[in-house]
Structures are given as C-alpha cells and as structure tokens.
C-alpha cells in the first residue's frame, strides 16, 4: 500500500506541475494575442486617420469603445481633451511620450459613464467585485500626424481571469484523474500483492523444508511469470547441487568410514588374547599405513573443496606452463621407465598462463599416476576394467613380450592456439567404457565401484576442479592413436586439460 500512496503522490506532483505549466503558457499566449490585436487596431486607426480624417477616426474609436470586451481606448486632441474613447483617466505621462506602458487604475473611475462589459455579465456579483479592485492595464500610446493622441490597450485582468478559468477547469479534471488513478493503483497493488504473496508462500514452504515446492506459473506470461520461472530454475539448480552434495557426503562417509572401521578392527584383533608380539607389530604397521591413506584421502578432499571454492584464485600468477610440465615429467620419467614404460614429451616451449605452479603440477601428477597405474601397472592387463586389485608391478615388467613397446608409451603434450592452452596425457591402456566418460570426473568414482584398490578416487576430480578454477575444462576420451594398434589391450585414454588464455 505504501507503494500505491507513493505512486499517487507522484501523480499529484506531476499534475500540479503540468497545471502550472499550462497556466503559464496560456497567459503568455493571451498576452501575445492581445499585443497583436492592439497593434492591428492601431494600424487600422492610423490608416483611417490618414485617409478619411480625424472625424472618421473619432467615430471609429467610439465604436470600438462601445464594443463588449475590456478594450481600452482613448483619443485626445492636441490640447489634451478627450475626443472619443471609454477610458477617462489616462495618466498624462502616457500621452506626452508615445510608447508601451503598463499601469494600474481603478476600473470604476476609469470607465465611469461607460457600460461595464465583461465577457460574461451573468456573473454580475463577481464582476462587481472585480470592478472594486485595482486593475492593471497594458496600453500603447502614439501621437498621430495631426497631433491627436491615440491610446489603445487591454485590461490585464481579463487575461488573468481567462488563465484562472483554464486552470480551474483543468484542476477539476486532474482531481478526477487522481481519484481514478488512486482507485486503479489500489486495484493493481492488490493484484501485484497477491502475486507476490504466492511467491512468499512458496518460499516459506521451501524454508520449512519442502525443497520440491515451486512457484506457480500463470498463463498471463507477464513479468511475474518471468520472475517465477527464474526462481524455479534457481531452485532446480540448488536442489541438484544439494543432491550432489548429499552424494558426496555419502561417499565421504563411505570412503572414510571403511578404512576407519578397518583401523579399528585391526587394533581390536591385536588386543585379542593369544596374539604374539609379531602380530602386534604387524597390526600396528598396518594401522599406520591405513591412517596414512586416510590422511591423504582427507587432504585430497580438502584441496578439492578449496580449489572448487576458488580459494586459490587470488594466488594465481604468471606461470611458465611448459617449464612446469617438464619439471613434473623430470620427476616422473625414471619411475615410468622403471615400470617398463616410456615418457614421450611433445611440449611446446614458452607457454605462459595465469595459473598456480603447485596446482598445475598436482593436476599433472594425478594424470600421470593414473596413466602409470592403468597402462603400466597390473590393471593394464585387464581390458575394459580400470578397477583391479593393487597388484605388484614387477611381473608386468618381466613379460614385455606381451605387448609392444609402442603400447607402453605415455605421451605428455602441451600445445596452444590463439584461444587456449591444452595439456594432455595419453596412454595406450584399457581406456574406459564410453558411457562412464563423465562419471570418472566425479569424486570417489572408481569404475565398477571396486574399492580395494589404492588411490582415493579423487585424482580426476581434483584435475577437473583445477581446470575449472582456470575457467577451463577436463575432457577424457579414447586415445585416437591407440586404434592403430590392433593388439592393443584397449582403446587407450587421453586426458586433456583445456585452459583458456585470459588476458
């Protein structure tokens, strides 16, 4: 309702301003018309005087004087006596010096002996009242060729009266409009409030826990429906995010509680009667390695959370991407060679990005570790599956005849075009099933859900988070070069981080 009141107030202010403007403009217009009439009459009277003589002029002036309307006429002979006209008391300075004058006078005395003839005589009492007042006249005086003084003018009061009539008429109209506007405002406001109330009601329901509630959309297709659609889309997004969060926390619960349970079981088993010192020792060693694994899972989760929250984005600086990638490869090359593989580098030098060396290195490390684990490790032997038990690596190295050296390559590529920098890690391992392509980026997804293998299942999720921090993306697809090898154990895998160049 306050909005409606404000609206009406604004309307009133504008109306009054408009009224004032119209009044002012019409008064100016009337003044202009009067001045033109006076000038015309003077011209006519002058011509008459010149062509027909003073007598005809006097007759004409007298005739004009007797016409209704508040014209002011005076014709005097050179000796100062009034010959014709309706205005007795012309101040003498006006007669002496020709020109335009404005002066006040008393209508009763000035028009004495003449008929008072306003535009509307019916309103006699008002007219009489007006006659009592001091009036204002605007006149032009001139001296004719024969020495006669001619004064023609208009009563300004007439002008004011006219303006007042216009304004009064308009005022009535405006008051009517204001009343109508107020009515319309109240009606509109009630309708708007009703629509807003439905949105409020929905949000109250959602706040009280009913997340699936949505704002109803009418068939009117107006701004409120737009708003409702926008709100509903936002709610859908929030709901899906919450759903994702719930899955993540379920996964966290599973992935942290499982090792915690193992930890607890081992400690209990060690305390059981009859166990030897050697048993105790083994149990404790297992406990330590289990807790180390827990810690690394926990660290990975924290890092992903911080990267996704953009906590690192202010720590970004100019980084030599090529150098960073080569450094990581320098760290991993010997380990890859020892696992029977070969690290092949195709790194374009001198590529810079606004990035973080630490995060970029960590992302590349995760990709390399995956490539080692799945294309060189024991998992590489099981086509179609990236989730086998964590076997020993040596026996894989011991039978190199099984596959050609070509298939033991891990290719790290850094390239750029005008818009983006691409860092890719490709292997010739078993790849992943096509329909699982997106899912591998999720947290804790190890395909086929085998959870006996080492690794937290968070590796690619971190890489994806790092890519998103750079407003880029991570794409996982089959390695196109792997198709060339028929003996290949799988389609191979390429993980490609695309990072846009942002100036």
């Amino acid at each position: 309702m306050r909005l409606t009141a404000l609206f009406i107030l604004m309307f009133v202010v504008f109306s009054v301003a408009l009224l004032g403007y119209v009044g002012f403009q019409s008064s100016i217009e009337i003044q202009r018309v009067q001045a033109r009439d006076v000038a015309w009459e003077i011209r006519q009277l002058r011509n008459l005087n010149r062509q027909r003589g003073t007598r005809a002029l006097a007759v004409a002036v007298q005739r004009l004087s007797n016409q209704p309307g508040r014209g002011i006429y005076y014709l005097g002979n050179p000796s100062g006596q009034m010959v014709a006209g309706n205005f007795r008391f012309i101040p003498s300075y006006i007669l002496l010096e020709p020109g335009q004058y404005s002066f006040s006078y008393s209508p009763q005395r000035a028009f004495e002996g003449f008929e008072l003839s306003g535009p509307d005589n019916a309103d006699a009492s008002e007219d009489g009242k007006r006659a009592q007042r001091k009036a204002q006249a605007v006149v032009r005086s001139l001296i004719l060729e024969n020495g006669f003084r001619l004064v023609v003018g208009r009563d300004i009061v007439q002008r004011r009266d006219f303006t007042i009539i216009i304004v009064r008429t308009m005022l009535l109209g405006v008051i009517g409009i204001i009343l109508l506007a107020a009515l319309a405002g109240v009606l509109t406001a009630r309708r708007v409030l009703a629509r807003i109330e439905t949105i409020n009601a929905t949000s109250r329901k959602i706040m009280s826990g009913n997340m699936s509630e949505r704002v109803p959309i009418t068939s009117r297709d107006d701004e409120f429906d737009e708003l409702a659609k926008g709100l509903n889309e936002m709610l859908d997004r929030i709901e899906s995010l919450m759903q994702g969060l719930k899955e993540v926390s379920d996964n966290i619960a599973h992935d942290l509680k499982t090792p915690l349970t193992r930890l607890r079981n081992q400690a209990e088993a060690a305390l059981r009667e009859g166990s030897t010192d050697e048993d105790h020792r083994q149990a404790l060693e297992k406990t330590i390695s289990e807790s180390d694994r827990l810690i690394s899972t926990f660290n990975a989760l924290l890092l992903i959370a911080r990267v996704e929250a953009g906590a690192h984005s202010d720590g970004l600086g100019r980084v030599d991407v090529s150098r960073t990638v080569l450094d990581v490869c320098d760290l991993y090359a010997p380990a890859i060679e020892d696992a029977g593989g070969l690290l092949q580098l195709e790194v374009e030098p001198g590529i810079y990005l606004n990035s973080s060396r630490e995060l970029l290195s960590q992302a590349l490390v995760n990709l390399l570790e995956n490539a080692i684990k799945y294309s060189l490790g024991s998992e590489a032997r099981q086509p179609g599956s990236r989730t086998a038990h964590d076997g020993e690596r040596e026996d894989d190295v011991s039978d190199p005849c099984k596959r050609s050296d070509e298939l033991k390559r891990i290719i790290v590529r850094v390239e750029q075009d005008a818009g983006e920098v691409r860092i890719s890690v490709c292997d010739f391992g078993p790849g992943i099933p096509a329909h699982e392509g997106e899912r591998v980026l999720e947290r804790f997804v190890r395909l086929e859900k085998s959870r006996t293998e080492t690794g937290s299942g968070l590796g690619l999720a971190l890489v994806s988070a790092v890519a998103k921090l750079h407003k880029g993306s991570l794409v996982i697809r089959n390695n196109p070069s792997a198709a060339a090898f028929k003996a290949s154990s799988g389609p191979g895998l390429c993980a490609i981080i695309s990072l846009p160049k942002i100036p």
Binding site: I288, S291, I295, S296, N299, L302, L303, R306, A311, H312, G315, D327, D330, L331, Y332, P334, A335, D338, S356, E358, S361, Q362, V365, E369, I372, T454, G455
Partner: protein, 223 residues
C-alpha cells in the same frame, strides 16, 4: 640438542617430549603461547617447535616477536593448515620449516636435526665431502676417489642436498620440497627411483655404500 616444544595438545606434546628424549634430545614443553614465548626468550634452545594455533598467543605472533628481538633460533612450525599459502605465511613470519599435521615422528625428527644444523657454518662451505666422495659447489664437479662422476642437473641437486646434511636422515618429503619444490605427496615412489639411479652412479663398484636407505624414514649419506 635442546628443544622447546610449544604445543597445546597435551597428549601429542607428551608423546613428542618422550620420543625426542629417546632420540637423545632434551625437550621442554610449553602449553600456551605466552609461556612458550617467555621460555623461548629466557633460555637458549637449539630448535623451537611451534604449533600455529595456540591458546593466549598464536604461533606466528611468537615467531615474529622472537625475530624482531634478534633471536635467530631455528623454528619448525607445526600446523593443521597444510595449504601452500598457509605455508608461505608461516615461513614469511620468520619460521624456517613448516610441517603439516598429521606428521610422522621420523619426519619431524629429520627436519629438526637438519634445522639445528642449518645454523652451523659447514652449510655454507663450497666443498662437501663424505668419505672419498667430493662435491665442488663452484665448479659443480662430483668425484669419488678422484674419479669424475657425471650427473644430470637434477641428480646433482639431489646429491648436493644430501651431502649438505650428511650423516643426517633426509625424508622423501624433504627431498621433494627442497630439490623439486613440490609440497604434495605422490603415490608413486618417484623419489626412490631417483635415489636408486643416483646410488648406481656414486656407489656402484665401491666397497663402501655411502648412500643409505633408512627404513621407515628416508635416506642418509655418510662415510
């Protein structure tokens, strides 16, 4: 070595004091920031171990005040905050090393022993020698028994770090931080592979094995 431990978790502190004692060091314990600061200024310690979050006064402020007073005792910061930025703020305040919780005792021990050594003049010398192995930091030449050993740049830096702290345990994390400047723990045993290559270059064909693996801790080079 005299060590001051400023740590508010009693249980962790008791364990550390006992374990440091078993390792042959004397450790004192302060349970809050104010007490810790008073003890650090009152006595001459070889190493300070400072927890970052402490009651009454936080670790960073203790280190800043100590450094402002001209106290140069090496400081190891312990913290549950393991992020790179946290590490940077810790080191910028005047800390010498940063260890994220949870840590293993062997990691902590290796780090404080290296820290205590850091203030000794031997660290700045231009030639490191362990047995008949020589490393010249000016010419970047490595010889064993007078015979030149050619090393990759990374292998050189690895050996340089090990020899700088010869006779002391150096953990894999320390190598990763100081030689490669990475602050994460890789799952693959990348460091071990580098070490076995380095070992092949300096120890192969020699009777005394200088580069030793310390089980459950890391590596050590000694004659």
């Amino acid at each position: 070595m005299k060590i001051l431990l400023i740590e508010d978790d009693r249980e962790a502190a008791n364990y550390l004091v006992q374990a440091l004692g078993e390792a042959g060091h004397t450790a004192h314990h302060a349970a809050d920031g104010e007490t810790g600061f008073a003890m650090a200024t009152g006595m001459d310690y070889d190493v300070l171990i400072v927890d970052r979050m402490l009651p009454r006064r936080d670790g960073i402020s203790i280190i800043e005040s100590l450094r402002a007073e001209g106290n140069t005792t090496p400081v190891l910061i312990l913290s549950a905050l393991g992020e790179v930025e946290d590490r940077v703020t810790g080191l910028r305040s005047g800390g010498d090393d940063y260890l994220a919780k949870p840590y293993s005792f062997s990691e902590l021990l290796a780090r404080i022993e290296v820290l205590a050594r850091r203030s000794s003049p031997s660290e700045a010398s231009t030639v490191f020698q362990v047995g008949d192995l020589c490393l010249d930091r000016l010419s970047r030449e490595v010889t064993r028994g007078g015979k030149k050993i050619s090393l990759q740049p990374r292998e050189y830096r690895l050996l340089e770090y090990l020899m700088k702290y010869s006779g002391q345990v150096v953990t894999r994390t320390m190598l990763l931080e100081n030689v490669w400047d990475y602050h994460f723990d890789p799952q693959t045993n990348v460091i071990d592979v580098h070490m076995s290559r380095l070992r092949a270059k300096i120890d192969r064909g020699h009777k005394t094995q200088l580069l030793q693996t310390i089980r459950g801790a890391g590596y050590m080079i000694r004659a």
